[in-house]
């Protein structure tokens, strides 16, 4: 698999927005991640480097530094469940245990442990989503959900399961 012509075109358009092409590394990686089904194999990083004409090692460093670039295959939808202080006080731990039981997964930060058997969801714990006012909260793909309860989470995930993945928020 390799980047489609449209994706390459898009990376070129993004790169043209910046005075230096290297500045387009992160947005270009998002394009590549969407293209590769939500994660970034090393080939994708090399292709982005070629497309931007920057050293592959630079792209490798950036892609691994940021946790929102996934280096392993993820489920169709990525759920980021906040497990920081405010959310924990408001019940995030119950949600975590609920999801672990419901999907028979472990929410420990490992993509493999956090992905459901059918590959629909990958649930990852995150430190803070900067939405403490709506604790407990989570992000599914690109959408925020706040003031969660077990019922609410079940409903949201059931709805989303059949919908296509949203990689970019317009």
């Amino acid at each position: 698999m390799s980047l489609s012509d449209e994706a390459r075109q898009k990376i070129q358009e993004i790169a043209a927005r910046y005075p230096r092409r290297i500045s387009a590394t992160i947005p270009a990686l998002y394009v590549a991640q969407a293209e590769y089904g939500g994660w970034l194999p090393k080939e994708a990083m090399v292709e982005v480097a070629e497309e931007l004409d920057v050293p592959p090692s630079h792209v490798f460093g950036v892609a691994t530094f940021y946790t929102l670039f996934y280096k392993e295959p993820v489920g169709k939808h990525v759920v980021q469940l906040c497990t920081n202080l405010a959310c924990m006080l408001c019940g995030a731990e119950t949600l975590q245990q609920h999801l672990e039981r419901k999907f028979n997964i472990k929410i420990n930060g490992s993509i493999r442990d956090g992905t459901t058997a059918d590959g629909t969801f990958t649930v990852l714990p995150v430190e803070c989503l900067a939405a403490c006012g709506g604790a407990p909260c989570m992000i599914v793909d690109t959408e925020y959900y706040e003031n969660l309860t077990i019922e609410k989470v079940d409903k949201i995930l059931t709805q989303i399961a059949t919908q296509p993945t949203v990689f970019f928020k317009p």
Partner: protein
């Protein structure tokens, strides 16, 4: 010079403005603990070890220093300790590095480093030469409060103090380098080396925080010709050499300070030996030549010296097979046969090929043997006659390159030919803001860093330079059409050349006289004629061989003349020292005819090379690590080789072999050492110009052999050849640890041509010339122009000289995909 006065631990010192405080402290004679700081790299302040208390004179409201009662300026100490590596000095600064507070801070930092660093010094390759080990002893605390000292405590093992970071170890970064991530302290020296010095970005930090590690995404792993330097500058045992590791403890090895002769750079090296085996080669600091770097070939290509395939006894061919004999017998046989030939056909029926791989002394006695003993003037050190060297000494050559504002590089690829020069050019670009203009018939890797690359059609370099001169002088540009160079690019280059203050022109050794004249003309129009340098790539001591006089004078034959005369039958005997013309001579057909036809062939070599196999007598010679002597580098700077180990078996230094042979022929020269020979050579040159007349050599007769038009139809591609650092040379063949770096024989062609001919990347291609055909792997890209193909010289098993026809100026070939359909 603009000096700044400051006080370090009470001692007054003046240093140039802009100096970092760490250098001032060192200059004052005090030790500073540091890991990330390296004098050749930009300061980053990552390790926080070089802390000091720093103060500056306090200024009053009138911006004048506030004085104490005794008239001394009042010092305001900064509230926090400062990292001296990122702090430029200022007037009146006070630096304290030996206060109790500083000692406590540094000890604390060491404790932090050791929180995760394993205490495995007894099994670590770096042990004994490890800055972390040394600095822990010097500055560190005796005990640590974190990590595995609490290993027995169950509660702590489950908590955040649970022992140290553990990684699988070691992780191979490449075939040559192993990474131990547990030992890595993330100072970033290796990463910064690849970003600032070698500019190949081979290494990077990946992940973050406690997960940070060093890795590479290049293919092959750590795609750098300078990767070994990261091992040297690693201040801990994280990066170690996979060739050297676990072969010896560093305090057991014997260091010999000598010079690398694998190319013409003249890098200063230290050879580490133990029990007469070469264990490793390290760079030796010399800011005038290699600074503190060497290339991977110079560093790792050492196994051949102790290879089991080395010749250890003289060989005489009897009835088609070689027999090992004693030196006396071999020398007597050679002496007798050469005397017979000389008596029967005259001295000029004997020819000698000296070598730029051997020392000045070897070459001097070689030409003396030919001229005095055998009475022949047929002597040449060059692999072939297209090479033109001019002897000149430029001690500040590398400094000139580094400080140039414009470098014009013509017909050369320093990365493959002279790697350390490549590093200096990169330093000029990256650190001195220099401009690089390249003029080559194909793209080279250095073009990534070039300001302007003028890629021209083959054999039109002179036209490009002439047009550049015209543009610099403001006259009309002519003859640019055939070169394929865009006029606006050329004008841009000309403008930069016209404005340059410190121009350096570098050209390849195979540049013809017209091109060199054009370059001098171009430089002269700028009043900087002295900055034009010819490069020599083939051999490490080419200029030394020239200086020693291993060139024909008085109508003697050069290498081409000797090959032709031998093939013709008029040259009866050939004496070859340290050369392998079967591989390196451009006309592979002629050289085979010549070697088969000569009545008597003597070869000195380390191995039974392709050439040696044709010989009647093979004499085992010593490698550069096994002899004393003098070598001249690319800038004509003379340096000493020192013997690191005795020659293996019964092999011997070339000058000793020749001196002994002369003795067998009745000439008692009485040299006891290289010094005797060098003194004689210097006497010989005294009072005369040390330059031998090189200008009168016969050139390739190019005018009479222009390719006919019909040829272009049958053979549509122009073939370019060039050097490769990791080629099929004999020494690399016998260094197994480097064999993976030698690429499978390939031909490089342009994408469009490949598409048109249906040749896929990596496919097998037959490259056919009127002389023959080679099967090579296709490399498809945009480095060569459409209509040209590039095949490196000396590829293992596919010598391009078998299909070259040097009687033609333009080499033409055709390509066909797949297997042998012709």
């Amino acid at each position: 010079m603009d000096l700044v006065n400051l006080t370090v631990n009470g001692q007054k010192i003046a240093v140039p403005r802009g100096t970092m405080a760490i250098e001032a402290v060192k200059a004052a004679g005090f030790d500073v603990a540091h890991f990330c700081y390296h004098p050749k790299l930009k300061p980053v302040g990552m390790c926080r070890m070089c802390l000091a208390e720093v103060g500056t004179p306090r200024l009053g409201p009138d911006r004048k220093p506030v004085l104490n009662e005794d008239g001394t300026p009042q010092i305001g100490m900064m509230p926090q300790p400062q990292a001296t590596c990122t702090l430029p000095v200022s007037e009146g600064m006070v630096i304290l590095t030996n206060t109790d507070a500083v000692k406590k801070m540094v000890a604390g930092m060491v404790e932090f480093f050791l929180a995760n660093h394993p205490l495995d010094c007894p099994v670590c390759d770096k042990g004994g030469e490890c800055p972390l080990q040394d600095q822990t002893m010097a500055f560190g605390p005796g005990q640590s409060r974190v990590g595995e000292v609490f290993g027995g405590d169950v509660r702590l093992q489950q908590g955040i103090w649970e022992a140290k970071r553990h990684w699988e170890k070691p992780k191979p970064l490449s075939e040559l380098i192993a990474l131990d991530r547990e030992r890595c302290i993330q100072c970033g020296r290796c990463v910064r080396f690849t970003q600032e010095i070698s500019l190949d970005n081979a290494l990077t930090f990946i992940y973050r925080g406690a997960q940070s590690e060093i890795d590479t995404l290049t293919d092959p792993p750590v795609d750098s010709k300078f990767s070994g330097n990261t091992i040297d500058i690693c201040p801990v045992g994280a990066l170690t050499s996979r060739v050297f590791r676990f072969t010896a403890r560093v305090w057991e090895v014997k260091p010999t300070h000598t010079v690398c002769t694998q190319c013409g750079c003249g890098c200063n090296i230290t050879i580490n030996t133990r029990l007469d085996k070469v264990l490793r080669i390290l760079p030796r600091d010399n800011d005038r030549i290699n600074e503190c770097w060497i290339c991977d070939r110079g560093r790792f290509n050492s196994q051949f010296i102790n290879s089991a395939a080395r010749l250890t006894k003289p060989l005489i061919k009897r009835n088609g097979t070689f027999e090992a004999v004693e030196w006396d017998e071999a020398l007597a046989f050679v002496a007798k046969t050469l005397t017979q030939i000389k008596d029967a056909h005259g001295g000029n029926a004997i020819g000698g090929l000296a070598s730029g791989k051997c020392t000045v002394e070897d070459n001097y006695v070689f030409q003396k043997l030919l001229r005095e003993v055998l009475g022949s003037d047929n002597v040449d050190y060059r692999p072939h006659g297209k090479i033109k060297h001019r002897l000149r000494r430029v001690p500040d050559f590398y400094e000139q390159v580094e400080n140039a504002d414009v470098i014009l590089l013509v017909g050369a690829d320093p990365l493959e030919e002279l790697p350390i020069l490549d590093l200096r050019i990169k330093k000029c670009i990256a650190q001195r803001n220099g401009t690089l203009i390249t003029v080559n018939p194909r793209r080279i890797l250095l073009d990534q860093h070039a300001t302007i690359s003028l890629v021209h059609q083959p054999h039109t370099a002179t036209a490009v330079i002439t047009a550049l001169s015209a543009a610099v002088n403001g006259s009309t540009i002519e003859g640019l059409g055939a070169t394929g160079v865009a006029e606006d690019l050329l004008k841009d280059a000309a403008q930069r050349l016209a404005q340059s203050q410190r121009l350096v022109v570098l050209y390849g050794e195979e540049s013809n006289d017209e091109l060199v004249a054009a370059l001098h003309h171009l430089a002269a129009s700028r009043d900087r004629q002295e900055a034009v340098f010819g490069l020599c790539r083939h051999d490490g001591n080419a200029l030394g061989a020239l200086w020693a006089g291993a060139m024909p004078k008085n109508g003697g034959l050069d290498v081409d003349g000797m090959m032709r005369a031998a093939a013709h039958g008029s040259l009866k005997a050939l004496y070859i020292m340290g050369q392998n013309p079967v591989n390196s001579y451009p006309d592979g057909q002629l050289v085979k005819e010549a070697l088969d036809k000569v009545e008597f062939l003597v070869v000195h070599d380390l191995f039974l090379t392709e050439t040696a196999q044709h010989a009647d007598v093979v004499l085992p010679a010593a490698s550069y690590a096994e002899k004393d002597g003098t070598v001249l580098n690319v800038a004509g700077v003379a340096q000493r080789l020192k013997q690191a180990l005795p020659p293996v078996g019964e092999s011997s230094e070339d000058w000793k072999i020749i001196t002994a042979l002369a003795y067998f022929m009745g000439h008692h020269w009485g040299y006891k050492s290289c010094a005797d020979i060098l003194r004689e050579l210097e006497r010989h040159h005294a009072g005369t110009s040390a330059r031998w007349n090189v200008g009168t050599l016969e050139r390739w007769n190019v005018e009479t052999c222009q390719p006919a038009d019909t040829e272009a139809e049958t053979y549509p591609f122009i073939l370019l050849t060039g050097a490769q650092l990791y080629d099929g040379s004999v020494s690399l063949r016998h260094s197994e640890r480097l064999s993976h770096l030698v690429e499978a024989p390939f031909v490089e062609l342009h994408r469009d041509d490949a598409q048109r001919l249906g040749i896929a990347r990596g496919a097998e291609v037959e490259v056919t010339s009127p002389r023959g055909a080679l099967r090579l792997r296709a490399k498809v890209g945009r480095k060569v122009l459409p209509g040209t193909v590039f095949v490196p010289e000396h590829q293992p098993g596919a010598p391009v000289n078998t299909i070259l026809d040097p009687t033609r100026q333009v080499q033409r070939v055709r390509l066909s995909a797949g297997r042998g359909d012709g």
